[in-house]
């Protein structure tokens, strides 16, 4: 049995591991369009300021499935699902001969940065941050540069900003929405982080976007904002989100919506072709709405399920979190899970609590917990996350959840009460 996995990041690796677990001797071929060996994508901001040695950003060998036939610089471009054949090109665009036969295929092609339509954006001096190579290019552009402008105050934008600030550049982050890290933070928590960002010497301009990138002799010299103001810039980093890489599935007419569509087994519309990670269209585990997630943890979950399925297992996929992120920014940790932007009313209850730079927000829908933000004190966040994920009826836990030190003991003791009730009811 030959499994071919297209993509060597979170989903692909998790799938390979799941396959290896079930099928110790199956052949696993992994194709990566990148020339670089597999690495931990979330760590590439370190490459910008050399905050970590390269080998600690590369995938840990003990966490790489054994006997993995890794083919780098190999971009899958076309698929023949009837013949079970995948066609690839190398880094120069030359077709690789012969094409690769598969018994089971996983499409884990991930996503690519979105480039907005802004005059002057095309050309040198404007970067996105998605790959190892991207990070090196930003690092090299930062040498001798003094001013950087980052468009987008999301995770990637802020990580880029901090990395560039590390190198001593003067950094301005421009964000269209009225707060930083808008998906992951609400107004109150964003205000806490705004302080941390300011203390790090990073300037933020909220409620605005870039109207134009200005160049002299092709070189970026400044950007103009939508209000007509101008910021000096030697380099620009764009971090406004990602879109799924659908070229391969589209090449053979696989069913595609916002992302590559799959069933509960993560199988696409073609037999023996599975998909996992940022390329997939799935449903929000909390709200049930259709989403394409760009989150590492979701990608790993999907990879595990898809790999298990490909190797004959029976695990099904229950959906992804739209929001499932932990990070530390400016020395302050934050964890955000689920649906955190709901307003109270209509069966929705929102609890918030702020103490200094610590903040906690819980969002309830009926008898369920559906959203969590924890800033500063993040102890036990996983217990809340589990309650959200498992859609636990938390009516009996309400008081404990709002208290300052909710822990797993509360939960199993409640379970005990449930057992007691069950027993007493005969």
């Amino acid at each position: 049995m030959r499994h071919v996995i297209v993509g060597a990041s979170a989903a692909g690796m998790a799938a390979a591991e799941a396959i290896r677990k079930r099928q110790p001797s199956a052949e696993i071929v992994m194709l990566s369009a990148e020339a670089h060996p597999p690495y931990y994508r979330p760590l590439i901001p370190y490459l910008i300021y050399q905050g970590k040695p390269d080998d600690e950003i590369l995938r840990e060998p003990r966490l790489t499935p054994r006997d993995l036939h890794l083919r780098l610089d190999t971009r899958a471009v076309r698929l023949d699902p009837q013949a079970h054949i995948i066609f690839c090109v190398d880094g120069q665009g030359h077709e690789i001969d012969p094409p690769i036969y598969y018994d089971r295929l996983l499409i884990a092609t991930g996503a690519s940065p979105i480039l907005p339509h802004i005059p002057g954006l095309e050309g040198g001096g404007v970067f996105t941050l998605r790959t190892w190579q991207d990070a090196l290019e930003i690092a090299s552009a930062a040498q001798g540069a003094s001013n950087a402008v980052v468009l987008g105050a999301g995770r990637i934008g802020m990580k880029s900003a901090f990395a560039l600030r590390h190198l001593g550049l003067s950094v301005t982050v421009v964000e269209l929405l009225e707060r930083i890290v808008p998906q992951q933070l609400d107004a109150q928590s964003a205000a806490i982080f705004a302080e941390a960002v300011e203390n790090a010497g990073i300037r933020t301009i909220l409620g605005h976007t870039l109207a134009q990138v200005n160049r002299r002799n092709g070189k970026v010299i400044s950007v103009s904002l939508d209000d007509g103001s101008e910021l000096k810039a030697d380099l620009v980093v764009i971090g406004v989100g990602v879109q799924p890489n659908l070229e391969l599935p589209a090449s053979c007419g696989l069913r595609v919506g916002q992302g590559l569509q799959v069933d509960a087994y993560l199988c696409t519309s073609a037999p023996d072709v599975y998909a996992a990670g940022d390329v997939v269209e799935t449903s929000d585990i909390v709200t049930g709405t259709t989403i394409v997630s760009g989150i590492w943890t979701n990608a790993v979950d999907m990879g595990r399920v898809a790999g298990d399925q490909m190797a004959g297992g029976d695990v099904t996929y229950k959906g992804a979190f739209s929001l499932l992120n932990a990070m530390e920014l400016g020395g302050l940790p934050v964890i955000s899970v689920g649906d955190i932007h709901r307003s109270p009313g209509d069966d929705v209850e929102v609890f918030t609590e702020r103490r200094g730079s610590s903040y906690r927000k819980l969002v309830f829908l009926g008898n369920r917990l559906i959203g969590l933000v924890m800033v500063g004190n993040i102890a036990g966040a996983g217990v809340y996350q589990t309650l959200i994920r498992e859609k636990v009826d938390v009516s009996d836990l309400h008081r404990e959840l709002l208290g300052p030190r909710f822990h797993y003991g509360h939960y199993i003791h409640t379970e005990k009460k449930v057992v007691d009730r069950y027993v007493s009811a005969g």
């Binding site: 966490l63 996983g382 797993y408 003991g409």
Partner: protein
């Protein structure tokens, strides 16, 4: 493989296990010297009490551990020799994704180092420090099969006796 089990009914929440854990994971390994160390020695076991019931909560070293799956830097992994889920501090970047996914809430933060802290079953010790120190034997270190057998027998005896 042996695991740490908890007999909640005889835990008095004296927190000796927490102290022993922190000392074991310090440099001096001494109740007198360890508290002054930097970075601060930290416990990996958490004794909690609710409604008069006490419960020490510690890492279950999950077979399919969510923290290992979610780790974005390759720091968390299963040490096959100790059969324990452990964190490699050279890899850990302090992103706290593990804290976000641990269903038991037993991963802590070493603030001075920015590293995740969790139970490692005390490598080098035959019996983990928490178990060794427990004055009431609420914590025991045993094969899962043996523990479950003893519990079943004790339950059967109590039913038969009543």
């Amino acid at each position: 493989m042996k695991r740490i089990f908890v007999r909640t009914e005889i835990c008095t929440a004296c927190k000796t296990c927490e102290l022993a854990c922190a000392i074991e994971h310090s440099q001096a390994k001494s109740i007198h010297a360890s508290p002054y160390e930097r970075p601060h020695p930290m416990r990996r076991v958490f004794v909690e009490a609710t409604d008069g019931r006490k419960i020490p909560i510690l890492c279950r070293h999950c077979e399919d551990a969510p923290c290992v799956a979610a780790c974005i830097s390759g720091a968390l992994f299963r040490d096959v020799v100790a059969d324990a889920v452990v964190c490699d501090w050279t890899r850990c970047i302090g992103c706290w994704t593990c804290i976000m996914v641990c269903p038991y809430g037993v991963i802590g933060r070493q603030l001075e180092l920015g590293k995740a802290v969790k139970c490692d079953l005390c490598p080098g010790r035959e019996i983990p420090a928490c178990v060794d120190s427990c004055p009431t034997k609420a914590l025991i270190y045993q094969e899962a099969e043996d523990f479950s057998k003893e519990r079943r027998q004790a339950f059967a005896a109590s039913v038969a006796g009543g």
